[in-house]
Symmetry: C2
Subunit: 163 residues, 2 copies
Amino acid sequence: MSKDKVFDVVFTSHGVCVGKMRNEVTNTAHQPFQVSRMLATDEGKFQGGEDTSPTPLEFFLTGLVGCLMTQIRVFGRRMKVEFDDLEVTCDARWVAHKGDIGPYEASPVGFDIGITMNSDAPEPDIHKLIEASRRACFVEATLAQANEITHSLRINAGEPQAV
Amino acid sequence: MSKDKVFDVVFTSHGVCVGKMRNEVTNTAHQPFQVSRMLATDEGKFQGGEDTSPTPLEFFLTGLVGCLMTQIRVFGRRMKVEFDDLEVTCDARWVAHKGDIGPYEASPVGFDIGITMNSDAPEPDIHKLIEASRRACFVEATLAQANEITHSLRINAGEPQAV
């Protein structure tokens, strides 16, 4: 697999607490385009929230489904595979199990993605389009591998420490 | 690590194409709570979109940051670690490199998360809260492992085929 870089994708996000469970997250895209705007998450009443906005997992799954759909649409044009009526579904499952140090821990179970479309293109061309789009979808590529995630913690405006 | 189940998390998402690059994704939570609502993604003009809504990666990162913040807030109460002014940042990077079968492929580089708060709680208690919250955050747990992702493709209302 060639590793020749085509472009970088660089985002920063910054979330602040508002209300009981509402979080206002400002996402800034630095590359390959520039934009900055806020999306808010909340929880329903029985989880202690006020239901002012969708929950974090709704945002997460919208990112996954939306990214794959966008990739199929963009690559369909670039790879000259015409189609109509694209729809993408995702069945997503996790389990919360007893935790060693906290109330529970999260285990992802799996993500089943269904793609439907109408097309007169040859089937091998459609399969190639789907395979190329999966590989180019930034969210699916992230879910497909174990990622480097670092954390730093800063208490009372002290020095940031790795945790 | 105990695997005793505490609860299941089950969501389905369904995205349809609207406009040039806009996708309308209806997310339905089945467990542990029930809700169904729509979030739309779009792209900016230079990517062929009409900028009617944030891009998929903004949704994805809002899910990550919002989920971790919610977990810290919920577990702070349950683990009796009081704090104020919680903020969470995330620097996220990917690279698009030349593809073997499509125009490019996506490679995640890493996710650097910064957590700041004010608190009079003992530092070891705060560290324990952060560690427990990371393990319980459904999005971070998903990014930390290589996930099972299946795909099925249905063309012209034919039989679904694995791809």
